[in-house]
């Protein structure tokens, strides 16, 4: 691929930088999983791991929305828009993680996955998924654009938490070494956001989570 062709790809796909960050997070987690920590892992290390984990798990599902936001921004603000939006989004998940890591170790991963499977079958789950895509247009420039973009990321994060809290509680209990479970949940949460008519996935998603729960409880 020539340099110009590559540049044209990045012109039309500014979200590739975010995809790169998610890929880096996955690489880090996979390497880290080769050297698992013991049960006494420091809280801060857990939280650091959580930040990397939510970046790896939650950014892929947001790429299509991020691309539209970036392409609708001033050219010189495209990457700034992506950073602000996804930064706020991940911050919301970090806030969730601070609470979840404190609560989750007491709970069984299997039980939490059963709850996650049941959650898939409720109408509240799917309303929350749909609300994720209610992203308002942003002002074009300046501090107003920055602040609107950050607020949009926070809203997006909150709606995503409402949609995905049970599987992410399970991840908080399982820890960031559980890369197989992480991969399964990433596919589920990303597909729910991206796939056309994704509510049709409710049964297969619930079945996948129930199967994971059985494995965890076995």
């Amino acid at each position: 691929m020539t340099a110009l062709a590559l540049r044209r790809v990045t012109w039309s796909h500014p979200e590739l930088t975010a995809a790169g960050v998610a890929a880096a997070a996955w690489t880090l987690l996979l390497v880290h999983a080769q050297h698992p920590h013991g049960p006494g892992e420091a809280y801060l290390a857990n939280l650091s791991g959580w930040i990397v984990m939510v970046t790896a798990m939650m950014v892929p599902g947001a790429l299509a929305d991020v691309r539209l936001l970036a392409l609708s921004s001033m050219w010189h603000r495209r990457q700034r828009t992506i950073a602000l939006f996804l930064g706020s989004y991940v911050c919301m998940w970090v806030a969730f993680g601070i609470v979840a890591i404190g609560l989750a170790p007491a709970a069984s991963v299997g039980v939490l996955l059963v709850i996650a499977a049941a959650w898939e079958l409720t109408p509240w789950k799917w309303r929350a998924v749909r609300r994720c895509h209610l992203i308002e247009t942003l002002p074009p420039r300046g501090a107003r654009a920055d602040s609107a973009c950050a607020r949009a990321g926070l809203r997006y994060g909150w709606r995503c938490i409402v949609s995905c809290w049970p599987p992410m509680l399970a991840m908080a209990a399982a820890g960031h070494q559980a890369v197989a479970l992480m991969a399964l949940l990433t596919v589920v949460v990303a597909a729910e956001k991206i796939v056309v008519r994704s509510a049709r996935l409710r049964a297969p998603a619930a079945a996948a989570l129930a199967a994971a729960a059985l494995l965890a409880l076995a």
């Binding site: 012109w11 039309s12 929305d65 539209l68 609300r131 308002e136 247009t137 056309v196």
Partner: protein, 493 residues
């Protein structure tokens, strides 16, 4: 796989106003249509050939159960035209099946019946609803007329006409290409954005083509009117019998567009081979795709008006549009409104500061952008307000919008807006409507005249409504529900 050979002796879809000029209000073809509609209206919802089921194929109310056959209409996408062609073809077969069982329909009509079209852009009085849709009774003066509903714009019911800006197909026919990638900022051609299955905004960047914008969407809103009429919403539009004649005209305009030099349908399998599920006149499921319906004659019909003759009228004054989608660099935002605005039925102006491009738009050889677009983004509202807005660029202060065709760049309309905030359905591509207008030619002309301010653009939204019958006062029309516009943006490419 269905046959795709041309039928030797296709049925002729005729101009509804031509029928009226030939045979009066109740030309036998129109009366047969009314009788068949009456039969369909009497059938229960669970009968796939009933009026209500056929409307549900297009859309159902929020919260109603859906399956592979209902709530399927394709909008804001390049599938808009083929999906509606299949939909009309199967509806036509249902009507013909019913007519074959009605004693009061002559054999000639029964064997030759095809769905008429409402060519509101033919001039004269043709922008009025054909009289058969405004009569309370059939030709016997007693039987209630199934084609009549009072859930329409009051001026149209009184015999008024759609505004000329609402019915024009000139800008759509001038489009040089069928579709393009759904990238924010640019227009997407005659037929719509290249997406997968797309009912409303399931795909990121989904956007309507020029024909879907005007006259399609605009006529829907205008006929529905400001009181929540049937034509204004996805799930009720096909309940108005004029819907089918409106879409017959849209389908005809596709034929007309293809008749122009250099115009071609897409050839990619993403368009030709996407399957759509329907039920036929026996209630049996059928699966069809665009590649099976490219030529109406393979479905057994043609339009009476020779495409070449219509073209001569349609192309008058049309600008030379590019026959290829824009270059593979995306449009670049160079200015936008800072605050959302709300349209409430009055004329509104917005001033937009415009900056210099800093991306690949700078690379143009001429030093000027190749294309300039106005985008109206994040359009939301609870319901279709039943009016549309003409969009003008740099309209002079002393210019009456009604005589300002030169500054008119398109129309805003709101068919489907009720889905924008609906969280009962999947819209992963976003919720608000989005319209783009290509203003390249106007920008170039104003620049040459020294009347183009490179630092600021003024966009005017001027409401357009149906006109009352000649010599009569317009029926009072409320503004309808407000419409929120998230942002108006200027893009260079």
């Amino acid at each position: 796989m269905r046959e795709t050979q041309r039928v030797a002796d296709p049925l002729i879809r005729r101009d509804a106003w031509g029928l009226e000029e030939e045979g009066g209000t109740w030309h036998p073809i129109m009366e047969a249509y009314a009788l068949a509609v009456g039969v369909m209206q009497g059938r229960p919802r669970d009968d796939a050939t009933s009026w209500t089921y056929q409307a549900a194929v297009h859309g159902v109310a929020s919260g109603e159960p859906v399956d592979d056959f209902v709530d399927q209409c394709q909008h804001n996408t390049w599938h808009f035209l083929p999906w509606h062609r299949i939909y009309l073809h199967l509806f036509e077969r249902i009507v013909r099946q019913i007519l074959s069982e009605l004693d009061e329909v002559s054999e000639d009509v029964e064997t030759g019946w095809a769905l008429p079209y409402w060519n509101y852009d033919r001039g004269g009085d043709t922008a009025a609803l054909p009289t058969a849709f405004r009569e309370a009774t059939l030709s016997d003066g007693q039987t209630p007329n199934p084609l009549f509903t009072d859930l329409r714009d009051p001026n149209l019911l009184a015999g008024g006409q759609l505004h000329p800006l609402q019915v024009t197909s000139q800008q759509a026919l001038a489009e040089g290409f069928f579709s393009s990638d759904p990238v924010p900022g640019g227009t997407v051609g005659f037929g719509g954005a290249e997406t997968g299955w797309n009912h409303f905004r399931e795909n990121p960047g989904a956007a309507p083509g020029a024909l879907e914008q005007t006259p399609h969407n605009v006529v829907h809103g205008a006929v529905g009117g400001p009181f929540g009429g049937l034509m204004g919403a996805f799930d009720t539009a096909p309940l108005d019998p004029i819907f089918w004649l409106h879409h017959s005209n849209i389908d005809r305009l596709w034929v007309v567009w293809l008749g122009q030099d250099g115009r071609e349908n897409p050839t990619g399998s993403g368009w030709t081979d996407l399957d759509f599920d329907f039920k036929d006149e026996t209630g049996t499921g059928v699966r069809m795709r665009a590649s099976q319906v490219l030529d109406p004659a393979t479905l057994g019909y043609e339009y009476e008006e020779p495409a070449a003759r219509l073209l001569a009228a349609g192309a008058q004054g049309g600008s030379a549009m590019p026959t290829e989608p824009p270059a593979d660099r995306p449009p670049e935002l160079v200015g936008a409104t800072e605050e959302p605005l709300t349209l409430t039925g009055e004329q509104q102006d917005v001033q937009i500061p415009v900056g210099q491009p800093t991306g690949p738009s700078l690379l143009s050889d001429s030093g000027e952008p190749e294309r300039v677009f106005v985008n109206v983004e994040g359009i939301e509202g609870d319901a279709n307000p039943g009016l549309s807005y003409a969009v003008y660029v740099n309209l002079p202060d002393d210019q009456d919008p009604n005589t300002a065709e030169r500054y008119h760049v398109g129309n805003l309309s709101f068919f489907g807006i009720e889905r924008a905030r609906d969280t009962e359905r999947d819209h992963p591509g976003g919720h608000g409507l989005r319209y783009a207008f290509d203003i390249t030619d106007l920008a170039r002309a104003l620049r040459e005249e020294g009347r183009w301010d490179p630092d600021e653009l003024r966009i005017t939204f001027s409401p357009i409504r149906p006109l009352p019958p000649e010599g009569r006062e317009a029926a009072p029309e409320p503004a309808g529900p407000p419409v929120k516009i998230g942002r108006v943006g200027i893009y260079f490419q």
